[in-house]
Amino acid sequence: MEPVIPFKWEGPDAEGTVRLYGNLNAFSAPRPFLTKKQVKTARNLTFDLKELEHLDLNGAAFLLSQFDLLKQMGISSKVQNLSSPLAPIWELAQKSFPAPDSLVPQKGPGPIEQLGENIWHFFKDLFELTTFFGEVLVHFWGFLRRPWRARWASIFTVAEKSVVDAIPVTCLVAFLVGLILAFQSAMLMQVFGVDIFVADLVGIAMIRELGTLLTAIVLTGRSGSAFSSELASMKSNQEIDAFVTMGLSPARDLALPRILAMTLATPLLTILADLAGLLGGNIVLMSLGHPYMVFWEELSSHIDISDIATGLFKSFVFGFVVALIGCQRGLYAESGPSAVGEATTHGVVTNILVIAILDSLFAVLFYALSW
Protein backbone atom coordinates (compact mmCIF):
# COMPACT_ATOMS: atom_id res chain seq x y z
CA MET A 1 0.00 0.00 0.00
CA GLU A 2 3.05 2.27 0.08
CA PRO A 3 2.97 5.06 -2.48
CA VAL A 4 5.79 4.84 -4.99
CA ILE A 5 6.82 8.46 -4.62
CA PRO A 6 6.70 8.86 -0.86
CA PHE A 7 5.54 12.04 0.78
CA LYS A 8 8.17 14.19 2.43
CA TRP A 9 8.25 17.61 3.94
CA GLU A 10 10.91 20.08 5.02
CA GLY A 11 10.69 22.97 7.38
CA PRO A 12 9.35 25.15 8.61
CA ASP A 13 12.39 27.29 7.88
CA ALA A 14 13.12 30.71 9.33
CA GLU A 15 10.48 32.40 7.15
CA GLY A 16 7.91 29.80 8.10
CA THR A 17 7.92 27.99 4.77
CA VAL A 18 7.12 24.27 4.71
CA ARG A 19 8.10 22.50 1.50
CA LEU A 20 6.12 19.45 0.44
CA TYR A 21 7.43 16.72 -1.86
CA GLY A 22 6.07 13.62 -3.48
CA ASN A 23 2.62 12.20 -3.42
CA LEU A 24 0.12 13.20 -0.77
CA ASN A 25 -2.94 11.01 -0.30
CA ALA A 26 -4.80 9.15 2.42
CA PHE A 27 -2.11 6.49 2.62
CA SER A 28 0.96 8.69 2.55
CA ALA A 29 -0.39 11.35 4.90
CA PRO A 30 2.08 11.45 7.79
CA ARG A 31 1.13 11.09 11.41
CA PRO A 32 2.33 13.09 13.24
CA PHE A 33 2.86 15.94 10.82
CA LEU A 34 4.11 19.23 12.26
CA THR A 35 4.83 18.95 15.95
CA LYS A 36 4.14 21.74 18.41
CA LYS A 37 7.84 22.16 18.92
CA GLN A 38 8.47 22.75 15.24
CA VAL A 39 5.91 25.51 14.87
CA LYS A 40 6.42 27.08 18.26
CA THR A 41 7.87 30.35 17.06
CA ALA A 42 5.88 30.78 13.88
CA ARG A 43 2.89 33.08 13.40
CA ASN A 44 2.33 32.41 9.74
CA LEU A 45 3.14 29.26 7.84
CA THR A 46 3.43 29.01 4.09
CA PHE A 47 3.14 25.61 2.46
CA ASP A 48 5.10 25.42 -0.76
CA LEU A 49 3.57 22.86 -3.11
CA LYS A 50 5.98 23.45 -5.97
CA GLU A 51 7.64 20.06 -5.65
CA LEU A 52 4.48 18.16 -4.84
CA GLU A 53 3.99 15.57 -7.58
CA HIS A 54 0.51 14.53 -6.80
CA LEU A 55 -2.27 15.60 -4.52
CA ASP A 56 -5.70 14.04 -4.32
CA LEU A 57 -8.78 15.19 -2.45
CA ASN A 58 -7.80 13.16 0.58
CA GLY A 59 -4.37 14.76 0.60
CA ALA A 60 -5.89 18.21 0.25
CA ALA A 61 -8.37 17.46 3.02
CA PHE A 62 -5.50 16.28 5.18
CA LEU A 63 -3.70 19.61 4.68
CA LEU A 64 -6.86 21.60 5.35
CA SER A 65 -7.44 19.57 8.48
CA GLN A 66 -3.91 20.43 9.61
CA PHE A 67 -4.59 24.11 8.88
CA ASP A 68 -7.55 23.93 11.24
CA LEU A 69 -5.36 22.47 13.96
CA LEU A 70 -2.73 25.17 13.41
CA LYS A 71 -5.40 27.84 13.55
CA GLN A 72 -6.41 26.61 16.98
CA MET A 73 -2.81 27.28 18.03
CA GLY A 74 -3.09 30.77 16.59
CA ILE A 75 -1.08 30.08 13.45
CA SER A 76 -2.42 31.03 10.06
CA SER A 77 -1.47 28.98 7.03
CA LYS A 78 -1.55 29.39 3.30
CA VAL A 79 -0.35 27.52 0.26
CA GLN A 80 1.76 28.76 -2.62
CA ASN A 81 3.07 27.55 -5.97
CA LEU A 82 0.11 25.34 -6.65
CA SER A 83 0.75 23.68 -10.00
CA SER A 84 -1.99 23.91 -12.56
CA PRO A 85 -3.21 20.30 -12.56
CA LEU A 86 -3.49 20.36 -8.79
CA ALA A 87 -5.27 23.70 -8.55
CA PRO A 88 -8.80 22.45 -9.37
CA ILE A 89 -8.43 19.67 -6.82
CA TRP A 90 -7.30 22.11 -4.16
CA GLU A 91 -10.17 24.44 -4.99
CA LEU A 92 -12.69 21.62 -4.91
CA ALA A 93 -11.39 20.46 -1.56
CA GLN A 94 -11.45 23.98 -0.15
CA LYS A 95 -15.00 24.52 -1.33
CA SER A 96 -16.27 21.30 0.19
CA PHE A 97 -14.19 21.19 3.35
CA PRO A 98 -16.42 21.24 6.42
CA ALA A 99 -16.49 24.54 8.29
CA PRO A 100 -14.80 24.25 11.68
CA ASP A 101 -17.19 23.03 14.40
CA SER A 102 -19.90 22.27 11.85
CA LEU A 103 -19.61 18.59 12.63
CA VAL A 104 -21.32 18.03 15.93
CA PRO A 105 -23.20 14.81 16.34
CA GLN A 106 -26.65 15.09 17.84
CA LYS A 107 -26.42 14.54 21.55
CA GLY A 108 -27.97 11.34 22.79
CA PRO A 109 -30.72 11.55 25.39
CA GLY A 110 -29.80 11.95 29.06
CA PRO A 111 -30.72 9.36 31.68
CA ILE A 112 -34.03 11.01 32.60
CA GLU A 113 -35.01 11.38 28.96
CA GLN A 114 -34.07 7.78 28.41
CA LEU A 115 -36.21 6.63 31.31
CA GLY A 116 -39.12 8.61 29.96
CA GLU A 117 -38.55 7.18 26.52
CA ASN A 118 -38.51 3.64 27.87
CA ILE A 119 -41.75 4.16 29.76
CA TRP A 120 -43.31 5.74 26.71
CA HIS A 121 -42.17 2.79 24.60
CA PHE A 122 -43.60 0.32 27.08
CA PHE A 123 -47.05 1.88 26.92
CA LYS A 124 -46.80 2.36 23.19
CA ASP A 125 -45.98 -1.33 22.79
CA LEU A 126 -48.86 -2.28 25.03
CA PHE A 127 -51.19 -0.03 23.08
CA GLU A 128 -50.04 -1.40 19.73
CA LEU A 129 -50.32 -4.96 20.94
CA THR A 130 -53.85 -4.32 22.16
CA THR A 131 -54.83 -2.61 18.93
CA PHE A 132 -53.43 -5.44 16.92
CA PHE A 133 -55.12 -8.01 19.15
CA GLY A 134 -58.42 -6.27 18.53
CA GLU A 135 -57.80 -6.13 14.81
CA VAL A 136 -56.96 -9.82 14.69
CA LEU A 137 -60.07 -10.67 16.71
CA VAL A 138 -62.23 -8.81 14.22
CA HIS A 139 -60.70 -10.76 11.36
CA PHE A 140 -60.93 -13.93 13.42
CA TRP A 141 -64.64 -13.36 13.77
CA GLY A 142 -64.83 -12.94 10.03
CA PHE A 143 -63.00 -16.22 9.68
CA LEU A 144 -65.38 -18.02 12.01
CA ARG A 145 -68.37 -16.82 10.05
CA ARG A 146 -66.97 -17.87 6.71
CA PRO A 147 -64.17 -20.34 7.34
CA TRP A 148 -64.30 -21.59 3.75
CA ARG A 149 -63.12 -18.19 2.56
CA ALA A 150 -59.90 -18.31 4.55
CA ARG A 151 -56.60 -18.86 2.79
CA TRP A 152 -56.34 -22.49 3.71
CA ALA A 153 -53.41 -23.06 1.37
CA SER A 154 -51.26 -20.54 3.17
CA ILE A 155 -52.53 -21.73 6.55
CA PHE A 156 -51.34 -25.24 5.75
CA THR A 157 -48.01 -24.00 4.40
CA VAL A 158 -47.39 -22.00 7.57
CA ALA A 159 -48.50 -24.92 9.74
CA GLU A 160 -46.07 -27.18 7.99
CA LYS A 161 -43.13 -24.78 8.10
CA SER A 162 -43.68 -23.50 11.64
CA VAL A 163 -45.10 -26.49 13.50
CA VAL A 164 -44.65 -29.76 11.63
CA ASP A 165 -41.00 -29.02 10.94
CA ALA A 166 -40.58 -28.33 14.66
CA ILE A 167 -41.63 -31.86 15.64
CA PRO A 168 -38.14 -33.39 15.87
CA VAL A 169 -36.59 -30.67 18.01
CA THR A 170 -39.62 -30.33 20.30
CA CYS A 171 -39.91 -34.07 20.83
CA LEU A 172 -36.21 -34.44 21.49
CA VAL A 173 -36.26 -31.69 24.10
CA ALA A 174 -39.40 -33.09 25.74
CA PHE A 175 -37.98 -36.61 25.73
CA LEU A 176 -34.78 -35.46 27.43
CA VAL A 177 -36.64 -33.36 29.98
CA GLY A 178 -38.87 -36.33 30.80
CA LEU A 179 -35.83 -38.53 31.12
CA ILE A 180 -33.96 -36.12 33.39
CA LEU A 181 -37.00 -35.41 35.54
CA ALA A 182 -37.66 -39.11 36.02
CA PHE A 183 -34.04 -39.88 36.70
CA GLN A 184 -33.58 -37.16 39.31
CA SER A 185 -36.75 -38.02 41.19
CA ALA A 186 -36.21 -41.77 40.91
CA MET A 187 -32.91 -41.45 42.79
CA LEU A 188 -34.76 -40.05 45.78
CA MET A 189 -37.92 -42.12 45.55
CA GLN A 190 -35.98 -45.36 45.33
CA VAL A 191 -34.67 -44.73 48.83
CA PHE A 192 -38.25 -44.90 50.10
CA GLY A 193 -39.18 -47.71 47.74
CA VAL A 194 -41.82 -45.67 45.98
CA ASP A 195 -40.11 -45.38 42.61
CA ILE A 196 -43.34 -46.36 40.90
CA PHE A 197 -44.63 -42.83 41.63
CA VAL A 198 -42.08 -41.49 39.19
CA ALA A 199 -44.70 -42.29 36.57
CA ASP A 200 -47.21 -39.95 38.18
CA LEU A 201 -44.71 -37.22 38.77
CA VAL A 202 -43.47 -37.22 35.20
CA GLY A 203 -46.97 -37.74 33.84
CA ILE A 204 -48.64 -34.89 35.68
CA ALA A 205 -45.71 -32.50 35.23
CA MET A 206 -45.51 -33.24 31.52
CA ILE A 207 -49.17 -33.22 30.68
CA ARG A 208 -50.23 -30.29 32.83
CA GLU A 209 -47.19 -28.04 32.53
CA LEU A 210 -43.97 -28.99 30.89
CA GLY A 211 -45.13 -30.37 27.57
CA THR A 212 -47.17 -27.27 26.93
CA LEU A 213 -44.52 -24.89 28.15
CA LEU A 214 -41.69 -26.56 26.29
CA THR A 215 -43.63 -26.56 23.06
CA ALA A 216 -44.53 -22.91 23.47
CA ILE A 217 -40.94 -21.92 24.13
CA VAL A 218 -39.53 -23.95 21.26
CA LEU A 219 -42.13 -22.44 18.94
CA THR A 220 -41.30 -18.95 20.21
CA GLY A 221 -37.66 -19.37 19.37
CA ARG A 222 -38.25 -21.20 16.15
CA SER A 223 -41.43 -19.89 14.59
CA GLY A 224 -42.49 -16.73 16.42
CA SER A 225 -39.08 -15.24 15.73
CA ALA A 226 -39.34 -16.26 12.08
CA PHE A 227 -42.67 -14.42 11.82
CA SER A 228 -41.16 -11.29 13.35
CA SER A 229 -38.13 -11.21 11.10
CA GLU A 230 -40.08 -12.13 7.99
CA LEU A 231 -42.66 -9.41 8.50
CA ALA A 232 -40.14 -6.85 9.71
CA SER A 233 -38.03 -7.25 6.60
CA MET A 234 -41.17 -6.99 4.49
CA LYS A 235 -41.91 -3.81 6.36
CA SER A 236 -38.50 -2.31 5.75
CA ASN A 237 -38.75 -3.25 2.05
CA GLN A 238 -42.02 -1.32 1.91
CA GLU A 239 -43.79 -4.58 1.03
CA ILE A 240 -46.28 -3.95 3.83
CA ASP A 241 -46.95 -0.49 2.41
CA ALA A 242 -47.56 -2.08 -0.97
CA PHE A 243 -50.02 -4.45 0.70
CA VAL A 244 -51.94 -1.60 2.29
CA THR A 245 -52.09 0.53 -0.83
CA MET A 246 -53.39 -2.45 -2.80
CA GLY A 247 -56.31 -2.49 -0.41
CA LEU A 248 -55.19 -5.64 1.39
CA SER A 249 -54.95 -5.88 5.14
CA PRO A 250 -51.67 -7.05 6.68
CA ALA A 251 -53.51 -8.22 9.78
CA ARG A 252 -55.98 -10.28 7.76
CA ASP A 253 -53.80 -11.52 4.94
CA LEU A 254 -50.41 -11.87 6.56
CA ALA A 255 -50.99 -12.29 10.28
CA LEU A 256 -54.24 -14.24 10.42
CA PRO A 257 -53.07 -17.27 8.41
CA ARG A 258 -50.01 -17.52 10.62
CA ILE A 259 -52.01 -17.13 13.81
CA LEU A 260 -54.63 -19.67 12.74
CA ALA A 261 -52.01 -22.16 11.68
CA MET A 262 -50.19 -21.89 14.97
CA THR A 263 -53.35 -21.97 17.07
CA LEU A 264 -54.62 -25.09 15.36
CA ALA A 265 -51.34 -26.96 15.13
CA THR A 266 -49.70 -26.19 18.48
CA PRO A 267 -51.99 -28.53 20.51
CA LEU A 268 -51.10 -31.38 18.19
CA LEU A 269 -47.43 -30.69 18.64
CA THR A 270 -48.01 -30.49 22.40
CA ILE A 271 -49.54 -33.98 22.39
CA LEU A 272 -46.46 -35.32 20.64
CA ALA A 273 -44.20 -33.53 23.10
CA ASP A 274 -46.18 -35.00 26.02
CA LEU A 275 -45.81 -38.48 24.61
CA ALA A 276 -42.09 -38.00 24.07
CA GLY A 277 -41.68 -36.79 27.65
CA LEU A 278 -43.64 -39.74 29.01
CA LEU A 279 -41.52 -42.08 26.97
CA GLY A 280 -38.44 -40.56 28.57
CA GLY A 281 -39.93 -41.19 32.02
CA ASN A 282 -40.88 -44.71 31.08
CA ILE A 283 -37.36 -45.55 29.99
CA VAL A 284 -36.02 -44.55 33.40
CA LEU A 285 -38.65 -46.65 35.11
CA MET A 286 -37.86 -49.61 32.89
CA SER A 287 -34.18 -49.27 33.70
CA LEU A 288 -35.17 -49.64 37.37
CA GLY A 289 -36.64 -53.04 36.52
CA HIS A 290 -40.32 -52.27 35.94
CA PRO A 291 -41.97 -53.74 32.87
CA TYR A 292 -43.06 -51.41 30.07
CA MET A 293 -46.79 -51.43 30.85
CA VAL A 294 -46.42 -50.58 34.53
CA PHE A 295 -45.76 -46.95 33.74
CA TRP A 296 -48.90 -46.56 31.69
CA GLU A 297 -51.11 -48.42 34.16
CA GLU A 298 -49.87 -46.30 37.03
CA LEU A 299 -50.39 -43.20 34.93
CA SER A 300 -53.93 -44.02 33.84
CA SER A 301 -55.03 -44.53 37.41
CA HIS A 302 -53.85 -41.05 38.45
CA ILE A 303 -54.32 -38.88 35.38
CA ASP A 304 -57.81 -37.81 34.49
CA ILE A 305 -59.32 -35.95 31.62
CA SER A 306 -59.01 -32.54 33.32
CA ASP A 307 -55.21 -32.81 33.36
CA ILE A 308 -55.16 -33.42 29.66
CA ALA A 309 -57.77 -30.77 28.95
CA THR A 310 -55.98 -28.02 30.89
CA GLY A 311 -52.72 -28.80 29.11
CA LEU A 312 -54.33 -28.71 25.72
CA PHE A 313 -56.34 -25.60 26.49
CA LYS A 314 -53.17 -23.79 27.47
CA SER A 315 -51.43 -24.93 24.32
CA PHE A 316 -54.20 -23.39 22.22
CA VAL A 317 -53.70 -20.11 24.00
CA PHE A 318 -49.93 -20.28 23.76
CA GLY A 319 -50.02 -21.08 20.06
CA PHE A 320 -52.26 -18.08 19.52
CA VAL A 321 -50.13 -15.78 21.67
CA VAL A 322 -46.79 -16.82 20.13
CA ALA A 323 -48.05 -16.14 16.63
CA LEU A 324 -49.88 -12.96 17.64
CA ILE A 325 -46.88 -11.37 19.30
CA GLY A 326 -44.47 -12.59 16.64
CA CYS A 327 -46.58 -11.04 13.89
CA GLN A 328 -47.30 -7.88 15.82
CA ARG A 329 -43.61 -7.21 16.44
CA GLY A 330 -42.86 -7.76 12.79
CA LEU A 331 -45.66 -5.61 11.43
CA TYR A 332 -45.00 -2.76 13.86
CA ALA A 333 -41.22 -2.79 13.36
CA GLU A 334 -39.48 0.43 12.52
CA SER A 335 -37.97 0.51 9.07
CA GLY A 336 -34.27 0.04 8.54
CA PRO A 337 -31.99 -2.97 8.65
CA SER A 338 -31.34 -3.11 12.38
CA ALA A 339 -35.11 -3.05 12.90
CA VAL A 340 -35.40 -6.66 11.77
CA GLY A 341 -33.08 -7.84 14.50
CA GLU A 342 -34.74 -5.63 17.09
CA ALA A 343 -38.21 -6.78 16.14
CA THR A 344 -37.15 -10.41 16.44
CA THR A 345 -35.44 -9.95 19.79
CA HIS A 346 -38.36 -7.99 21.21
CA GLY A 347 -40.79 -10.55 19.87
CA VAL A 348 -39.03 -13.45 21.55
CA VAL A 349 -38.55 -11.61 24.83
CA THR A 350 -42.16 -10.45 24.94
CA ASN A 351 -43.35 -13.93 24.09
CA ILE A 352 -41.38 -15.65 26.82
CA LEU A 353 -42.54 -13.07 29.35
CA VAL A 354 -46.16 -13.34 28.32
CA ILE A 355 -46.05 -17.14 28.31
CA ALA A 356 -44.60 -17.20 31.82
CA ILE A 357 -47.19 -14.73 33.10
CA LEU A 358 -50.08 -16.52 31.43
CA ASP A 359 -48.92 -19.86 32.74
CA SER A 360 -48.88 -18.56 36.31
CA LEU A 361 -52.32 -17.04 35.86
CA PHE A 362 -53.61 -20.34 34.53
CA ALA A 363 -52.11 -22.19 37.48
CA VAL A 364 -53.98 -19.92 39.90
CA LEU A 365 -57.17 -20.11 37.88
CA PHE A 366 -57.19 -23.90 37.60
CA TYR A 367 -56.43 -24.21 41.29
CA ALA A 368 -59.33 -21.94 42.18
CA LEU A 369 -61.61 -23.93 39.89
CA SER A 370 -60.04 -27.12 41.29
CA TRP A 371 -59.56 -28.58 37.83
Partner: protein
Protein backbone atom coordinates in the same frame (compact mmCIF):
# COMPACT_ATOMS: atom_id res chain seq x y z
CA UNK B 1 -1.79 3.35 -4.04
CA UNK B 2 -4.80 5.42 -4.96
CA UNK B 3 -2.93 7.59 -7.40
CA UNK B 4 -2.61 6.86 -11.08
CA UNK B 5 0.91 8.22 -10.81
CA UNK B 6 1.95 5.11 -9.00
CA UNK B 7 0.17 2.59 -11.08
CA UNK B 8 1.42 3.94 -14.33
CA UNK B 9 4.97 4.32 -13.08
CA UNK B 10 5.12 0.68 -12.05
CA UNK B 11 5.36 -1.07 -15.39
CA UNK B 12 4.33 0.79 -18.47
CA UNK B 13 0.75 1.20 -19.52
CA UNK B 14 -1.30 -1.28 -17.55
CA UNK B 15 -4.93 -0.59 -18.23
CA UNK B 16 -7.00 -0.15 -15.08
CA UNK B 17 -9.52 -2.69 -16.29
CA UNK B 18 -9.46 -5.32 -18.97
CA UNK B 19 -11.97 -8.06 -19.70
CA UNK B 20 -10.87 -10.92 -21.93
CA UNK B 21 -13.36 -13.31 -23.46
CA UNK B 22 -15.56 -12.86 -20.39
CA UNK B 23 -18.78 -14.82 -19.98
CA UNK B 24 -21.40 -13.35 -17.66
CA UNK B 25 -23.77 -15.82 -16.09
CA UNK B 26 -25.63 -16.73 -12.94
CA UNK B 27 -25.30 -20.15 -11.45
CA UNK B 28 -27.81 -22.53 -12.92
CA UNK B 29 -28.96 -20.21 -15.70
CA UNK B 30 -27.81 -19.87 -19.29
CA UNK B 31 -25.14 -17.20 -19.82
CA UNK B 32 -26.35 -13.61 -20.18
CA UNK B 33 -23.34 -12.28 -22.07
CA UNK B 34 -20.68 -14.23 -23.91
CA UNK B 35 -17.15 -13.43 -25.05
CA UNK B 36 -16.83 -9.84 -23.84
CA UNK B 37 -13.57 -8.08 -24.67
CA UNK B 38 -13.00 -4.53 -23.57
CA UNK B 39 -10.53 -2.25 -21.83
CA UNK B 40 -10.80 0.89 -19.75
CA UNK B 41 -7.92 3.34 -20.15
CA UNK B 42 -6.45 5.46 -17.35
CA UNK B 43 -8.51 8.58 -16.70
CA UNK B 44 -11.29 7.36 -18.93
CA UNK B 45 -14.98 7.38 -18.16
CA UNK B 46 -16.28 4.17 -19.65
CA UNK B 47 -20.01 3.82 -19.93
CA UNK B 48 -21.75 0.46 -19.90
CA UNK B 49 -25.11 0.83 -21.57
CA UNK B 50 -27.87 -1.57 -22.39
CA UNK B 51 -31.51 -2.33 -21.91
CA UNK B 52 -32.81 -3.27 -18.48
CA UNK B 53 -32.15 -6.90 -17.62
CA UNK B 54 -29.40 -7.43 -20.18
CA UNK B 55 -26.88 -8.17 -17.45
CA UNK B 56 -25.11 -4.92 -16.65
CA UNK B 57 -25.21 -5.35 -12.90
CA UNK B 58 -24.24 -8.99 -13.33
CA UNK B 59 -21.28 -7.94 -15.47
CA UNK B 60 -20.24 -5.54 -12.74
CA UNK B 61 -20.35 -8.37 -10.19
CA UNK B 62 -17.87 -10.29 -12.29
CA UNK B 63 -15.64 -7.25 -12.75
CA UNK B 64 -15.39 -6.49 -9.03
CA UNK B 65 -14.67 -10.04 -7.95
CA UNK B 66 -18.02 -11.01 -6.47
CA UNK B 67 -18.78 -13.82 -8.91
CA UNK B 68 -16.25 -16.07 -10.57
CA UNK B 69 -16.89 -16.05 -14.31
CA UNK B 70 -17.67 -19.31 -16.06
CA UNK B 71 -15.13 -18.39 -18.72
CA UNK B 72 -12.70 -15.58 -19.41
CA UNK B 73 -10.53 -13.31 -17.32
CA UNK B 74 -10.72 -9.94 -15.62
CA UNK B 75 -7.55 -7.89 -15.23
CA UNK B 76 -7.38 -4.98 -12.83
CA UNK B 77 -4.18 -2.98 -13.30
CA UNK B 78 -2.76 -5.90 -15.19
CA UNK B 79 -3.51 -8.54 -12.59
CA UNK B 80 -5.90 -11.39 -13.23
CA UNK B 81 -8.16 -11.07 -10.20
CA UNK B 82 -9.41 -14.65 -10.38
CA UNK B 83 -6.02 -16.24 -11.00
CA UNK B 84 -5.08 -17.13 -7.43
CA UNK B 85 -8.39 -17.18 -5.66
CA UNK B 86 -8.87 -15.05 -2.58
CA UNK B 87 -5.27 -13.85 -2.56
CA UNK B 88 -5.30 -11.98 -5.84
CA UNK B 89 -8.79 -10.71 -5.11
CA UNK B 90 -7.70 -9.16 -1.82
CA UNK B 91 -4.82 -7.41 -3.54
CA UNK B 92 -7.01 -6.10 -6.33
CA UNK B 93 -9.74 -4.89 -3.96
CA UNK B 94 -7.50 -2.16 -2.64
CA UNK B 95 -7.31 -0.69 -6.12
CA UNK B 96 -10.95 -0.05 -6.80
CA UNK B 97 -14.13 1.26 -5.24
CA UNK B 98 -17.66 0.14 -5.97
CA UNK B 99 -21.01 1.85 -5.72
CA UNK B 100 -23.91 -0.60 -5.88
CA UNK B 101 -27.17 0.04 -7.68
CA UNK B 102 -29.13 -0.01 -4.43
CA UNK B 103 -26.60 1.95 -2.39
CA UNK B 104 -25.71 -0.87 0.00
CA UNK B 105 -24.94 1.53 2.84
CA UNK B 106 -24.40 -0.02 6.25
CA UNK B 107 -27.74 0.54 7.90
CA UNK B 108 -26.51 0.86 11.46
CA UNK B 109 -23.97 3.59 10.68
CA UNK B 110 -24.54 7.28 10.02
CA UNK B 111 -23.68 8.58 6.56
CA UNK B 112 -20.46 10.05 7.96
CA UNK B 113 -19.47 6.74 9.52
CA UNK B 114 -20.32 4.90 6.33
CA UNK B 115 -17.81 7.01 4.45
CA UNK B 116 -15.29 6.71 7.29
CA UNK B 117 -15.23 2.91 7.34
CA UNK B 118 -12.59 2.38 4.62
CA UNK B 119 -10.54 5.33 5.90
CA UNK B 120 -10.51 3.90 9.43
CA UNK B 121 -9.67 0.41 8.22
CA UNK B 122 -6.96 1.12 5.71
CA UNK B 123 -5.19 4.38 6.60
CA UNK B 124 -3.30 5.70 9.60
CA UNK B 125 -5.02 9.07 9.64
CA UNK B 126 -6.13 10.46 12.98
CA UNK B 127 -9.86 10.36 13.78
CA UNK B 128 -10.36 14.10 13.39
CA UNK B 129 -8.82 14.12 9.96
CA UNK B 130 -10.92 11.12 8.93
CA UNK B 131 -14.01 13.01 10.03
CA UNK B 132 -12.98 15.99 7.92
CA UNK B 133 -12.27 13.84 4.88
CA UNK B 134 -15.56 11.98 5.20
CA UNK B 135 -17.47 15.25 5.57
CA UNK B 136 -15.67 16.62 2.52
CA UNK B 137 -16.70 13.60 0.48
CA UNK B 138 -20.29 14.02 1.59
CA UNK B 139 -20.13 17.71 0.71
CA UNK B 140 -18.89 16.80 -2.77
CA UNK B 141 -22.12 14.95 -3.41
CA UNK B 142 -24.21 17.67 -1.79
CA UNK B 143 -24.92 16.02 1.53
CA UNK B 144 -23.67 18.73 3.88
CA UNK B 145 -25.85 18.77 6.96
CA UNK B 146 -26.91 15.13 6.68
CA UNK B 147 -23.71 13.70 8.11
CA UNK B 148 -25.28 12.25 11.22
CA UNK B 149 -28.41 10.76 9.68
CA UNK B 150 -28.90 7.04 9.33
CA UNK B 151 -29.45 5.59 5.84
CA UNK B 152 -32.98 4.57 6.81
CA UNK B 153 -33.84 8.21 7.45
CA UNK B 154 -32.72 9.76 4.17
CA UNK B 155 -34.25 9.75 0.72
CA UNK B 156 -33.41 7.28 -2.05
CA UNK B 157 -31.34 9.83 -3.95
CA UNK B 158 -29.42 10.73 -0.82
CA UNK B 159 -28.60 7.06 -0.21
CA UNK B 160 -27.28 6.92 -3.75
CA UNK B 161 -25.11 9.98 -3.28
CA UNK B 162 -23.79 8.76 0.06
CA UNK B 163 -22.89 5.48 -1.62
CA UNK B 164 -20.89 7.40 -4.21
CA UNK B 165 -19.15 9.31 -1.44
CA UNK B 166 -18.26 6.03 0.22
CA UNK B 167 -16.88 4.59 -3.01
CA UNK B 168 -14.75 7.73 -3.29
CA UNK B 169 -13.48 7.55 0.28
CA UNK B 170 -10.02 6.21 -0.52
CA UNK B 171 -9.95 7.75 -3.98
CA UNK B 172 -8.98 4.51 -5.65
CA UNK B 173 -7.76 4.82 -9.22
CA UNK B 174 -10.65 2.73 -10.51
CA UNK B 175 -14.29 3.20 -9.61
CA UNK B 176 -17.28 1.11 -10.57
CA UNK B 177 -20.59 2.93 -10.40
CA UNK B 178 -23.91 1.20 -11.00
CA UNK B 179 -26.39 3.81 -12.19
CA UNK B 180 -25.05 6.72 -10.14
CA UNK B 181 -27.43 9.34 -11.46
CA UNK B 182 -30.60 7.27 -11.76
CA UNK B 183 -33.24 8.75 -9.50
CA UNK B 184 -31.48 12.06 -9.00
CA UNK B 185 -32.94 15.39 -9.99
CA UNK B 186 -31.36 17.00 -13.08
CA UNK B 187 -29.43 19.57 -11.06
CA UNK B 188 -27.90 17.08 -8.65
CA UNK B 189 -27.24 14.75 -11.56
CA UNK B 190 -25.36 17.49 -13.37
CA UNK B 191 -23.31 18.33 -10.27
CA UNK B 192 -22.49 14.66 -9.92
CA UNK B 193 -21.43 14.45 -13.55
CA UNK B 194 -19.22 17.47 -13.03
CA UNK B 195 -17.63 15.87 -10.00
CA UNK B 196 -16.96 12.63 -11.87
CA UNK B 197 -15.52 14.65 -14.76
CA UNK B 198 -13.21 16.63 -12.49
CA UNK B 199 -11.97 13.51 -10.74
CA UNK B 200 -11.27 11.80 -14.04
CA UNK B 201 -9.61 14.78 -15.72
CA UNK B 202 -7.62 16.13 -12.80
CA UNK B 203 -6.87 13.06 -10.70
CA UNK B 204 -6.78 10.58 -13.55
CA UNK B 205 -9.33 8.30 -11.87
CA UNK B 206 -10.91 5.75 -14.16
CA UNK B 207 -14.66 5.31 -14.01
CA UNK B 208 -16.60 2.33 -15.23
CA UNK B 209 -20.22 3.24 -14.93
CA UNK B 210 -23.50 1.66 -15.80
CA UNK B 211 -25.96 4.32 -16.77
CA UNK B 212 -29.19 4.94 -18.62
CA UNK B 213 -29.17 8.71 -18.45
CA UNK B 214 -28.73 9.96 -21.99
CA UNK B 215 -27.85 13.45 -20.85
CA UNK B 216 -25.22 12.17 -18.47
CA UNK B 217 -23.83 9.86 -21.15
CA UNK B 218 -23.48 12.67 -23.66
CA UNK B 219 -21.98 14.99 -21.06
CA UNK B 220 -19.16 12.97 -19.54
CA UNK B 221 -18.78 9.46 -20.93
CA UNK B 222 -15.66 9.16 -23.10
CA UNK B 223 -16.43 5.79 -24.57
CA UNK B 224 -19.41 3.55 -24.23
CA UNK B 225 -20.09 -0.14 -24.58
CA UNK B 226 -23.60 -0.95 -25.61
CA UNK B 227 -24.70 -4.43 -24.58
CA UNK B 228 -27.36 -6.21 -26.56
CA UNK B 229 -29.67 -9.03 -25.56
CA UNK B 230 -29.89 -10.32 -29.14
CA UNK B 231 -26.20 -11.10 -29.56
CA UNK B 232 -25.59 -11.67 -25.83
CA UNK B 233 -22.59 -9.41 -26.02
CA UNK B 234 -21.30 -6.04 -27.14
CA UNK B 235 -23.64 -4.64 -29.75
CA UNK B 236 -21.71 -1.47 -30.33
CA UNK B 237 -18.80 0.45 -28.93
CA UNK B 238 -17.52 3.98 -29.38
CA UNK B 239 -17.84 7.56 -28.26
CA UNK B 240 -21.36 8.59 -27.28
CA UNK B 241 -21.37 11.07 -30.14
CA UNK B 242 -20.62 8.33 -32.62
CA UNK B 243 -23.19 5.97 -31.12
CA UNK B 244 -25.84 8.64 -31.02
CA UNK B 245 -25.32 10.15 -34.44
CA UNK B 246 -23.45 7.89 -36.82
CA UNK B 247 -23.77 4.28 -35.78
CA UNK B 248 -26.04 2.13 -37.91
CA UNK B 249 -26.34 -0.71 -35.40
CA UNK B 250 -30.05 -1.14 -34.61
CA UNK B 251 -29.36 -1.38 -30.86
CA UNK B 252 -27.62 2.01 -30.87
CA UNK B 253 -30.36 3.57 -32.91
CA UNK B 254 -32.96 2.26 -30.51
CA UNK B 255 -31.02 3.17 -27.39
CA UNK B 256 -30.39 6.74 -28.44
CA UNK B 257 -33.96 7.06 -29.70
CA UNK B 258 -33.13 8.07 -33.23
CA UNK B 259 -36.51 7.04 -34.57
CA UNK B 260 -36.39 9.72 -37.22
CA UNK B 261 -33.14 8.42 -38.66
CA UNK B 262 -34.47 4.93 -38.82
CA UNK B 263 -37.61 6.08 -40.57
CA UNK B 264 -35.61 8.01 -43.13
CA UNK B 265 -33.55 4.94 -43.89
CA UNK B 266 -36.60 2.79 -44.32
CA UNK B 267 -37.96 5.22 -46.84
Amino acid sequence: MPSPGKDMSQAGPKPPLEAKNLTVSHEGSPPLLVGLNFTALPGEILGILGPSGCGKSSLLQHLVGLAVPREGQVFIFGEDIYAQGEQSLMRARHNFGVMYQTGALFGDLTLLDNVSVPLKEFTHLDPNCIKDIAALKLALVGLTGSEYLLPANVSGGMVKRAAIARALALEPSLLFLDEPSAGLDPITARDLDELIGTLARNLGLTFVMVTHELRSIMRIVDRAILLGKRMKGIADMGSPKYLAEKSTVPESIAFFQRNNVKEKKEK
